[in-house]
C-alpha cells in the first residue's frame, strides 16, 4: 500500500519510518513545503519519493496530513474534493486540536473517507531531524468523532495505529479539545511562561546553566517547542485554553497568598493536594 505523508516533521517523519519498517507501507510519498526540510528528509530517506501535493493525493491509498493545524484545516477539504470518484482512498490528520478540523468537513460528501486522529506522542523537537523510530510505541491515540468516518476507513486506520503500537481512545472532538487544553496545552504555556520569567531575571545566562538542577530542566523542557506548531494550537483551542489559564492563575495566586501571609498550613495543604497527581501518573 502507498502511504502519502504531507509534512515530514517529527510526527510525519516518525510515521514514515515505522510504517515502512513494519511493513504497513510498501511505499511512502512525501510532501514537504520547506526546502531545507525537504532536502534533509530526502537525504535521510524518510520517504521513497518527494512529490507535489497533487501527486501525493492522487498517488496514495492513505494520505496522512501531519502539518500545523492552521494549515491542515485549509488542506483537508481540498484532499476530500480530490477523493470524489475514488471511494477507497482515506485521509487522516494528526493535529493536536480537533473541533475546528472536524467541523470544516462535517458536510463534505466524502466525509466518511476522513478519520480524525491525534497520536499523543512527541518531543520538544521538530523537523525531519527529530523523526525517530518507536516514537508512538505504547502511547495513546485519540480517534475524534469516529462515528462520522466510514466503518471501512476507520478499521483501516485502526490497523495503521495498531502497527504503530498505539492505544486507541475514542472521544468527541469538542471533549478532546477540553481535555488536551487541561493536560497538554497548559503544560506548554506554563513552560513558556517559566522560560520567559527566568530569562527576564537572569541576565547572566551562566547562572541559569549552573543552577539548573534537573528540576528546572524538566519543567522548562517544553519551552523549546516551536511557534509554527503552537501558535495555531493555542488560537484554534482559544476558549478552552483561556479557561484553563484562568484556573491556573487562580492556583498561583492561592500559593502567593499563602506564602505572603506565612500560612504554612495553607502551603502544606496546597502541596498535599498537588501531590495527588502521583497516584494518577503511576
Amino acid at each position: 500500500m502507498t502511504v502519502g505523508i504531507i509534512g515530514l516533521g517529527l510526527i510525519g517523519g516518525s510515521m514514515a519510518i515505522d510504517l515502512k519498517r513494519r511493513g504497513f507501507a510498501s511505499k511512502v510519498l512525501g510532501v514537504e513545503a520547506d526546502p531545507v526540510n525537504a532536502a534533509a528528509a530526502q537525504k535521510m530517506g524518510l520517504a521513497n519519493e518527494l512529490v507535489s501535493f497533487e501527486d501525493c493525493v492522487s498517488g496514495s491509498d492513505i494520505v496522512i496530513v501531519a502539518v500545523p493545524v492552521g494549515t491542515a484545516v485549509t488542506m483537508l477539504p481540498k484532499i476530500l474534493d480530490a477523493f470524489e470518484g475514488a471511494p477507497d482512498k482515506i485521509v487522516i490528520d494528526t493535529c493536536s486540536t480537533k473541533s475546528n478540523i472536524v467541523r470544516c468537513v462535517h458536510y463534505h460528501p466524502c466525509r466518511g473517507q476522513y478519520v480524525a486522529t491525534h497520536p499523543m506522542a512527541g518531543t520538544e523537537y521538530s523537523g525531519p531531524w527529530a523523526a525517530m523510530p518507536g516514537l508512538f510505541d505504547g502511547r495513546a491515540c485519540i480517534f475524534a468523532n469516529s462515528e462520522e468516518s466510514s466503518p471501512k476507513a476507520l478499521a483501516r486506520i485502526e490497523e495503521l495505529y495498531n502497527i504503530l503500537n498505539m492505544r486507541p481512545i475514542y472521544m468527541n472532538a469538542d471533549s478532546h479539545d477540553v481535555h488536551t487544553a487541561y493536560v497538554s496545552h497548559i503544560s506548554h504555556v506554563t513552560s513558556f511562561a517559566l522560560a520567559l520569567t527566568v530569562l527576564d531575571k537572569e541576565k547572566d545566562e551562566k547562572h541559569i546553566f549552573d543552577l539548573a538542577s534537573g528540576g528546572f530542566s524538566s519543567t522548562v523542557r517544553l519551552a523549546k517547542s516551536n511557534p509554527d506548531m503552537w501558535v495555531p494550537i493555542l488560537t484554534q483551542n482559544r476558549e478552552n485554553v483561556l479557561q484553563v489559564i484562568d484556573t491556573y492563575i487562580d492556583k498561583m495566586k492561592a500559593f502567593r497568598q499563602a506564602i505572603d501571609s506565612f500560612d504554612e498550613k495553607g502551603i502544606e495543604d496546597l502541596i498535599l493536594q498537588a501531590n495527588r497527581i502521583k497516584k494518577i501518573l503511576r
Copy 2:
C-alpha cells in the same frame, strides 16, 4: 574519618552511600528522627550505626545536616555550641535556602567550623528509599559565604564534594537565594499549580492518565515533591519567591492577552523569546 549525617533522606542517604563507597568516610553515624525512616535506613545499611543527635555530634569529625531548612536553622547553633573545645570538627548543611541559616550563626564563636553548602541535585522523591549512588555526579554545589568559614574547614569540605564529583560554585548567600528562587523554587510552584489545575478540572482521573503525553508528565513531575521540604523553603525564601511569582503571573497574563485577542504575532513573539532557553540549557 567518621562522618555524621543528620537526616538519612534522599540527600543525606545518597551522601552516605557515596562517601562510604568512595572511601571518604570510614564510618557513617546516622541520625533519623522518623521511626519508619530510621528502620528503613537501618535495614538498607545507609549508616554504620544509628545514634542520637548528641552522640552523632560528639562522635563525628564532620557533621552533615541534611534536614528541611526550618529544622536545620534551629539545629545548627546547637551543633556549633557543642564544637567548643573541638576546633577540628566541621559541620555543613545541605539546605536549599541559605540567607537565614548563615545569618543565624554569623556571630557564633565557632562560625569558622561551619561551611554552608547547597548541592544542587535531587529527584522528586524523598526518604531513605529514594537515596541512590551517583546522585551528585557532575552537578553543581553552591558554597555560600565561604569567606566566613575557616580555610581549613573549607578545604576539607571542598574535598568532600570533589569526591562526590560536584562542581563548586561560590556565591553570596543572599544572591544564592535570589537565583534559586528564579531557577529552582519557581519551577516547583509552577508544577504544584499545574497539578492543582488539572486535578481540579479532570475529575475523571483516567483521562489524565490517558492524555498525559510525555510533555505533561515532565512538566508536572516536581508536583510530587513533598511538603516537609518545600513549605520551609518557600517561607524562608518568601520575599524572593513572591517576586518571581509576580513576574511569572505577568508572563501568563501576557500569553492570555495575546491568545484572547487572536494576536498570532504576539503569541509567536512570546514563544520565540521563550525558545531562547534552548541555547542556555544546551
